[in-house]
């Protein structure tokens, strides 16, 4: 089947580019007589019309593909005329033509999309012991999902759930929808096939440091004591004094602050003892906490602000404990000799999580939890598609938040299990070139690559970032829509235009998620000649592309990535920065001015700033004059 190519263009953009419909049709026919040009008033489905499966559509004037065609056949090449055109210097007509010519060349070399069907395992695996794990397993089962609960510790059975007690995670294979997870259990080894995995950690908390003091209790032990009937009979000189110490090792969570305030209020309101709450900060950023704080004060709880390091603690000779805090109002040290000290048990990451991350090949966050602290990985999402972390596996301790995480994980899990038909990734591995060095398998930020005889990418797990293609030392991997040929075809078409206005020619390789959106939002630029090439991720920008830009006539090249920790590819952006530094070194080695290569980070909502960055970069390159490769103008 030969696939036909269509160019769709907004009438308004055509007129804005100064082209008549007839002139444009003639241009298009000159590039390729088989191409059909459709001029549309706007991008509604009725206006755009229908296309045969496998059609290649160039969307002239859109930054994004048309969503209603996604995954149902046609391959779309958005050509952002409105965002890009103002940044290209010289003749708008020539520019629009070059943009579309580049897109056409890229479209023609694109393989036809295929749909693949992959059976998924209709099963959710919950790993962990403790309350969050139990809740996740129960909820999964009540949602009608077949559920297996692997608990490292002995647990009570749960109706409708297959429980594996004493299950220690020992191995993993497969991808989202088709995981195979191995355990050592009390009854020997077991392998569970599951579509999605929810890691609920281990219920372990650490007692805050002063917990080893004489008279010290943990908050949970103290709460249990308060709940006893009859109420505990406390006696002490001048009334029994209870000091609650908060926020010493780390900031108190609002969930713990609520418990502390409740306990302190109960003590003070009982009238038999006095309650003191010592904390550097009172955390009230949760529903009703400010009110509870007020009520605690009104009940007689005395609040003492301590330094970040807490009060000065002394154990006296008679075994009693003295707490010392400077009181700014009295201009003196305040000393307190409590009969009881109550300390928090802040959540902390279980050591087990390190082992889990290794076995499941996922990134462990610097704070020791299993979800990255990255806004693009919301809630329980981890760096592995189909594996989720909730509660103690991601450091959450409020019941409300854990419920939300479980709901989120189960909704995504159900979607992954239901989605058996999908577009193949079109990550082509050239067998002739591949040296089976498995660099791609190691560098894939999503752990979406496996290998049998050759490396392959999993269509469900692959996020199409192209990091593997950039890293492959043999240039054996190509990502559809962003093959070396396609990117270079776009680049060449735009660089072929005659230089005008004495402006430096700048080539920007920018992430489509951040930089491309920021460019579209940038206000009308200063005169510039900026060729923008959208990349699936800044991690896709490889040395070869940068050199091609310089050899093709660029006076300056800018790599535009996302901010650190705001990269959908997790470390595509830091990779791009390291590559930038390396290419600069290479340029310097050859005697070429390394300053002609720049690097910047941006966010999609910072159009004004990004526009200024581009204009400033253009100015700095302009001051250097024409690139020596281009000779004297």
């Amino acid at each position: 089947m030969t696939a036909k190519t269509y160019i769709l263009l907004l009438e308004s953009h055509l007129s804005a580019a100064g082209l008549s419909p007839e002139a444009f049709r003639e241009l298009a026919a000159g590039w390729d007589p088989e191409t059909e040009v459709r001029l549309v008033r706007n991008w509604t489905a009725e206006n755009v019309g229908t296309f045969p499966a496998g059609a290649r559509i160039i969307l002239g004037g859109r930054a994004e593909p048309l969503p209603w065609f996604n995954g149902c056949g046609p391959i779309q090449f958005p050509v952002d005329i409105s965002g890009t055109l103002p940044w290209l210097g010289g003749d708008p007509e020539v520019n629009a033509a070059a943009l579309l010519k580049g897109a056409l060349a890229a479209a023609k070399s694109s393989p036809i999309r295929e749909r693949v069907t992959l059976e998924t395992f209709p099963r959710v695996l919950v790993v962990g012991s403790g309350d969050a794990a139990r809740r996740a397993a129960r909820k999964s089962s009540t949602r009608g999902l077949e559920t297996v609960w692997a608990s490292p510790e002995p647990v009570e059975p749960l109706e409708g759930v297959l429980v594996l007690p004493g299950a220690q995670l020992s191995g993993s294979g497969g991808f989202a929808g088709r995981f195979r997870i191995a355990f050592e259990t009390d009854d020997g080894p077991a392998e569970i096939q599951a579509g999605a995995v929810i890691l609920a950690g281990l219920d372990k908390s650490r007692v805050a440091e002063p917990g080893n003091l004489p008279n010290a209790s943990t908050l949970s032990a103290f709460e249990a004591e308060l709940g006893q009937t009859p109420a505990p009979a406390w006696t002490g000189k001048g009334g029994y004094k209870v000091a609650f110490l908060a926020g010493l090792d780390r900031s108190t969570s609002t969930a713990d602050m609520r418990r502390l305030l409740e306990a302190a209020r109960t003590v003070a309101a009982g009238g038999k003892a006095r309650a003191y709450l010592l904390a550097p900060q009172i955390k009230v950023a949760a529903t009703g906490l400010e009110r509870l704080y007020t009520q605690a004060r009104e009940s007689g709880v005395i609040f003492i602000r301590t330094p970040e390091s807490g009060p000065t603690i002394e154990v006296l000779e008679d075994g009693s404990v003295s707490l010392k805090v400077f009181d700014p109002l009295a201009r003196a040290d305040l000393r307190l000799k409590p009969d009881r000290i109550v300390v928090e048990e802040p959540p902390h990451p279980a050591e087990e999580l390190i082992r889990w991350a290794g076995i499941l090949r996922m990134v462990l966050a610097p704070d020791g939890y299993l979800t990255p602290d990255n806004v693009l990985f919301p809630g329980p999402s981890t760096t592995r598609h189909g594996i989720f972390a909730v509660g103690p596996a991601r450091g959450t301790d409020s019941n409300e938040a854990i419920e939300a995480e479980i709901d989120h994980a189960l909704a995504d899990a159900a979607r992954i299990i239901d989605e058996t038909e999908m577009e193949s990734t079109h990550l082509a591995v050239d067998k002739g070139r591949c040296a089976i060095c498995l660099t791609c398998v190691r560098v894939c930020p999503h752990n979406a690559m496996g290998y049998t005889h050759r490396p392959f990418s999993d269509p469900a797990a692959c996020q199409r970032c192209g990091v593997c293609a950039a890293e492959c030392p043999m240039d054996a991997i190509q990502l559809a829509d962003y093959t070396d040929f396609q990117i270079k075809a776009r680049l060449e078409a735009l660089l072929e235009r005659p230089k005008k206005d004495g402006l430096p020619r700048i080539v920007v390789f920018g992430c489509r998620r951040s930089a491309a959106k920021a460019l579209a939002a940038a206000p009308k630029p200063r005169p510039a000649d900026v060729v923008f090439l959208a990349m699936p991720c800044a991690g896709r920008i490889e040395d070869d592309l940068v050199f091609s830009a310089f050899l093709g006539g660029a006076d300056g090249v800018l790599m535009a990535a996302c901010h650190e920790d705001n990269c959908r590819t997790h470390y595509g952006s830091p990779k791009a920065r390291r590559r930038f530094e390396r290419i600069r070194d290479l340029l310097a080695e050859t005697g070429y001015d390394p300053e002609r290569l720049g690097f910047t980070t941006t966010a999609p909502n910072m159009g004004v700033l990004f526009g200024r960055t581009l204009a400033d970069f253009s100015d700095s390159i302009g001051a250097k004059g024409s690139s020596p490769i281009n000779g004297e103008d």
Partner: protein
């Protein structure tokens, strides 16, 4: 799904917030809006009606009847292609033709009749003539319609505390006393920080926390939950962009801003000065700067400091109670909307209480799931 959007564009307050990243992401979540809007725009069954208010909602049997009023949409949002010809040619330069705050979303532009020359009786029709798709029609009229719906999700958002309610900070007296939201908008639309009075970059900036939060005297007996986060991120951003700027922050208690709060706070303490306490009445100095008096706790005496710019971290207040009444929602003791899921009434976003962008997203998704469950059950 039908969405009645009172404004010209979707996205609420978040659409006006800047990215607060330095080299590294500040985890404010504002950047996710663009992506969410793009996803929603492509979501077939969602229909957004702009400039539309819900006049009232009546119970009718198992479902509800919603009465909607749409102000005249002179620029048809469904026809707009976002080419910007009208915006470029409008003689009122950005006031009458408004640009969508989120890039690459449609409608790209809207006509704000109040700022249009025609509102002043002039016969301007530059935009209508220049529009290549004929999306601008001055004969558009107000329309009313009724709609039967099975569930109602109220998401009118919050109202920021009116800084005039704290006259001692002089927000309406001094142009260099601004709200954090105004600072946000300045950073987004201009990409830089300046004193409104003279356009120069400030040498010293003070943030005042809890303006309209944790204050029983004005009926705000709650913490607004997001201000410590945005103010600390803004402070870090200012120090990053202009390292010579001195930044101070007056606070009552610093609230956790995210998972890495302890590290973030420790690093920020090296860069800015945290001053515990609530400042007194702000006055102007002779050279037009701002004098902020406060009690210095470490020295135990009254002090004052002079700043070029004072930023008020305004608390998040409940939405207009008239809106809750029109929608038939009960209010909690702080005036925020209360959901009644059993009756098919749900909330999303900060209308039900102060919450961050991240929390709004997560809770919004949870609400959507609950609505689906409710519809299935019926």
């Amino acid at each position: 799904v039908a969405v009645a959007e009172k404004g010209f564009f979707p996205g609420g307050q978040a659409a006006h917030l800047p990215c607060k990243a330095t080299e590294a992401c500040a985890k404010c979540n504002a950047c996710l809006l663009e992506e969410t809007l793009a996803e929603t725009a492509g979501c077939g069954p969602v229909r957004i009606m702009y400039q539309t208010e819900v006049v009232r909602v009546e119970k009718s049997g198992q479902s509800y009847r919603a009465f909607l009023r749409t102000s005249p949409t002179y620029l048809d949002p469904d026809a707009c292609t976002g080419c910007g010809a009208c915006f470029d040619k409008c003689p009122e330069q950005g006031k009458a033709i408004r640009k969508a705050p989120a890039a690459g979303t449609l409608p790209g532009f809207a006509l704000d009749a109040a700022s249009c020359l025609r509102a002043r009786g002039e016969e301007c029709r530059v935009c209508a003539d220049v529009c290549p798709v004929g999306a601008i029609d001055f004969s558009a009229a107000e329309t009313e319609r009724e709609m039967d719906v099975r569930a109602v999700v109220a998401a009118p958002g919050f109202r920021p505390f009116d800084p005039a309610g704290k006259p001692r900070y002089g927000w309406d007296l001094y142009s260099d006393v601004i709200s954090a939201l105004e600072l946000d908008q300045m950073l987004r639309s201009e990409g830089d920080l300046k004193r409104p009075s003279n356009g120069s970059p400030p040498q010293s900036v003070a943030f005042i926390q809890c303006v309209g939060s944790r204050d029983k005297s004005i009926g705000r007996d709650y913490c607004s939950r997001v201000c410590c986060g945005y103010a600390m991120r803004l402070a870090r951003l200012i120090r990053h962009r202009r390292p010579d700027t001195e930044v101070s922050m007056f606070y009552m208690d610093l609230q956790n801003t995210g998972r890495d709060f302890d590290r973030f706070y420790r690093e920020l303490k090296e860069q800015i000065e945290f001053i515990h306490g609530v400042p007194g009445e702000i006055q102007a100095s002779e050279d037009g700067r701002l004098i902020v008096p406060y009690a210095d706790e470490t020295e135990g005496r009254r002090e004052q400091r002079v700043f070029d710019l004072v930023v008020l971290s305004l608390g998040l207040g409940p939405p207009d109670p008239a809106m809750a009444e029109a929608l038939g929602f009960a209010l909690d003791e702080d005036g925020f909307l209360q959901a009644d899921p059993a009756a098919g009434k749900f909330t999303a976003g900060a209308a039900s209480g102060p919450m961050s962008i991240a929390e709004s997203r997560q809770r919004g998704a949870a609400t959507a799931a609950k609505v689906c469950e409710y519809l299935k059950k019926k």
